[in-house]
């Protein structure tokens, strides 16, 4: 599965794992992975360690996730992007908008 999400036992964290290509083809799955979670203060952790490509529509999808997280006063953390994905995030200067942990 290219997009998998799980909720931690304390119900506070949602871990979303995107594998392979992170692009528009994942749009529906990606959106479904978080849109039902409306618990205030949820931390959405996006694990990108298994993804190997990311395009600008995926950046747009991150903005949608951020919008959702902001709405419920939660936060998002991007975790372990590989070099090429990190380059994309760096060009877009997304560290100004969300936390990125290498």
């Amino acid at each position: 599965m290219p997009v998998v999400s799980s909720t931690s036992s304390n119900n506070k964290d949602v871990l979303i794992t995107v594998s392979d290509r992170f692009d528009f083809s994942q749009y529906k799955l990606f959106r479904e992975s978080y849109c039902d979670c409306t618990i205030a203060g949820t931390e959405f952790r996006l694990d990108l360690s298994h993804a190997n490509y990311m395009d600008s529509s995926a950046l747009g999808m991150l903005l949608l996730l951020k919008e959702h997280a902001d709405k419920i006063k939660g936060k998002i953390v991007i975790e372990r992007p590989n070099d090429s994905i990190n380059k994309v995030l760096e060009i877009a200067q997304f560290h100004h908008l969300m936390e990125i942990v290498r």
Binding site: F24, S56, S57, L59, G60, M61, L63, L64, E67, E90, I91, A92, Q93, F94, H96, L97
Partner: protein, 572 residues
């Protein structure tokens, strides 16, 4: 479609078969025609343009496979299903039928129910195809229209095409990349390369407002950062959350021989020395793309690059480095740099890059737009862009307004405290003057004079900045950083500007008076230097005053420099 309007063609040499099929089809309310062999069948196809063709595999004359093939070749813009009929076909015959374009095969003997179901299933597929054709055609029309609109509204206004070379190749008919160039009232050149998320029609939503904002604000003399702020506001209002605009903007200051570069979410921009092909500098993205947040980051500052006549700035969108070959490898930055370097040596940058891309990608279709902007930084080539004093034009303007002329007028404006940090009065003043006096070429020089005097009053007067900082390129950045900090903290201080307009027989003159709350600044050395013509070209500071003395008939500083009077003259 009502059954009555559907037409079915039967190609079968057996009269009994034809009779039976004809009866079934007629009973369903369809029109029917038939032919005993393939060749005649093609003629009937021409005559009746049927909606479905039934071919008996053993029909005489031309082979059923060939007949099927020919019919499919004739039906180019419409889907005409072909149903093969036979008692037996081996695997190879079946695959030949499918290869020739047959859509289904029905084996004898068949029941009435099966035959009818097959026909209706075929029509169902045909109607899907016809919907698809209509949609595709509509989309093509829309894209052509958008393309037309785009090239007239967005790109036609571009300037200096022989010095700013724009190369683009769209992934689809319509590109998410936008390349814009425009001339500022003081002769500076603004260049913008933008890349909207995605491509196709949806990425075009923002292109027209982007071009409008960029052109209108450049025309009115707004500074690049003000233009970028406004573009960001517009895009934030307009674009949905997941869409944004990455852009690089370059403002070539013709007078200062500097380039100011903003990179918001684009690949690195390059500065090449065109005489050697050496990559001299790169400007990485330092701000997220526009349209994401309502406001820009607080500390956005351009990269300032002193230019020589050999410099060329290269901007490109990610499509070029992400172009893929058959193995899925990216073209990448290194190949681009190498092709550009070779291009400068052989004096054909675009040709070398296209050739390198073609060799790398072969004929593989690309996912993303490819665009590249090559800016000649020899500022002298842009000097001809400012319209020369066209006396006929000025005369027409004067005729129009002469009856309203009552001689002189004066106008003044005072700005104080934090308003000094928020308002740039120069575009307002130029607008005011143009409201009263109408447009004219003389305002371009005036624009420069006002800007230089105002910047001096603000920087050295109100903010008390020392211009010797600007003597080195590093100091330049430091200077702007310090200016930003002091602007942020600005709570008192003022600048008063007064203009007096006098018309005379040969044209007009404008007395410009500006006073500020500062304690003055060292202005004498520059004035002396510019009088003797000895201003060192390596100095980054003092250019402003030199320009003003060149453009004005008179320039006098009073009160240690905190008051200035300049007289700007022009001839009609």
């Amino acid at each position: 479609m009502h059954p009555h309007y559907r037409h079915i063609l039967i190609i079968d040499s057996n009269a009994d078969n034809v009779e039976r099929l004809t009866r079934i089809i007629s009973d369903e309310g369809f029109q029917v025609s038939s032919s005993p062999d393939g060749m005649q069948g093609l003629v009937k196809y021409y005559q009746h343009k049927p909606d479905l063709v039934l071919i008996d595999f053993h029909a005489e004359g031309m082979s059923a496979i060939e007949t099927c093939h020919q019919i499919k070749a004739l039906a180019t813009n419409v889907f005409v299903p072909v149903l093969m009929i036979s008692t037996y076909l081996d695997d190879e015959q079946i695959s030949l039928c499918v290869e020739a374009g047959a859509d289904d095969i029905v084996f004898r003997p068949f029941s009435l129910a099966i035959f009818r179901s097959k026909i209706y299933a075929m029509f169902r597929i045909a109607s899907l195809y016809s919907k698809l054709y209509t949609l595709t055609e509509e989309r093509q029309n829309d894209e052509e229209l958008a393309e037309q609109l785009f090239s007239t509204v967005v790109e036609k206004g571009n300037i200096a095409k022989e010095h700013i070379n724009i190369f683009k190749r769209s992934a689809e008919t319509f590109s998410g990349d936008v390349q814009l160039t425009a001339l500022c009232p003081n002769g500076d050149i603004n260049v913008l390369l933008g890349d909207f998320t995605g491509h196709g029609l949806s990425s075009a939503i923002g292109a027209i407002p982007l071009a409008d904002t960029f052109r209108a604000m450049t025309d009115k003399g707004y500074s690049p950062i003000e233009i970028i702020k406004q573009i960001n506001r517009k895009m934030h209002q307009l674009l949905p959350t997941q869409m944004f605009l990455a852009l690089t903007m370059v403002s070539l200051s013709v007078n200062e021989q500097l380039a100011y570069v903003w990179n918001a979410g684009m690949e690195d921009s390059f500065v090449f020395d065109s005489s050697t092909g050496e990559l001299r500098e790169r400007i990485a993205s330092f701000h997220p793309p526009l349209g994401i947040s309502a406001n820009l980051l607080a500390d956005i500052r351009p990269i300032v690059i002193p230019l020589t006549a050999d410099d060329r700035i290269i901007l490109y969108s990610d499509g070029i480095v992400e172009a893929r070959n058959a193995d899925g490898d990216f073209f990448g930055e290194q190949r681009l740099i190498e092709a550009t370097r070779q291009g400068f040596i052989d004096k054909d940058v675009q040709g070398h890059i296209i050739a390198a891309l073609e060799v790398f990608c072969e004929d593989l279709p690309q996912d993303d737009d490819i665009s590249l902007v090559d800016i000649n930084c020899d500022v002298s080539v842009y000097q001809t862009l400012l319209p020369s004093n066209d006396t006929d034009k000025v005369a027409i303007i004067d005729d129009d307004y002469s009856s309203l002329e009552t001689g002189s007028w004066s106008w003044q404006m005072s700005l104080a405290g934090d308003k000094l940090a928020k308002v740039n009065p120069i575009p307002i003043i130029i607008n005011q003057i143009q409201e009263i006096e109408g447009p004219g070429d003389q305002w371009q020089g005036l624009y420069t004079v006002l800007t230089e005097l105002y910047v001096n009053a603000l920087d050295h007067g109100v903010l008390g900045l020392n211009s010797s900082l600007k003597d080195s390129p590093e100091g330049f950045a430091q200077y702007f950083q310090e200016k930003e900090i002091r602007m942020e903290a600005l709570s008192n201080g003022y600048i008063k500007i007064k203009l007096e307009y006098h018309s005379n027989a040969s044209g007009g003159s404008l007395d410009i008076m500006m006073i500020d709350s500062g304690s003055g600044f060292e202005f004498t050395p520059w004035i002396e230097e510019s009088n003797t013509g000895s201003l060192s070209t390596n100095n980054f500071s003092g250019r402003g005053i030199k320009l003003v003395t060149e453009l004005c008939q008179k320039l006098n500083y009073h009160e240690n420099g905190s008051a200035v009077k300049a007289i700007y003259n022009w001839n009609n």
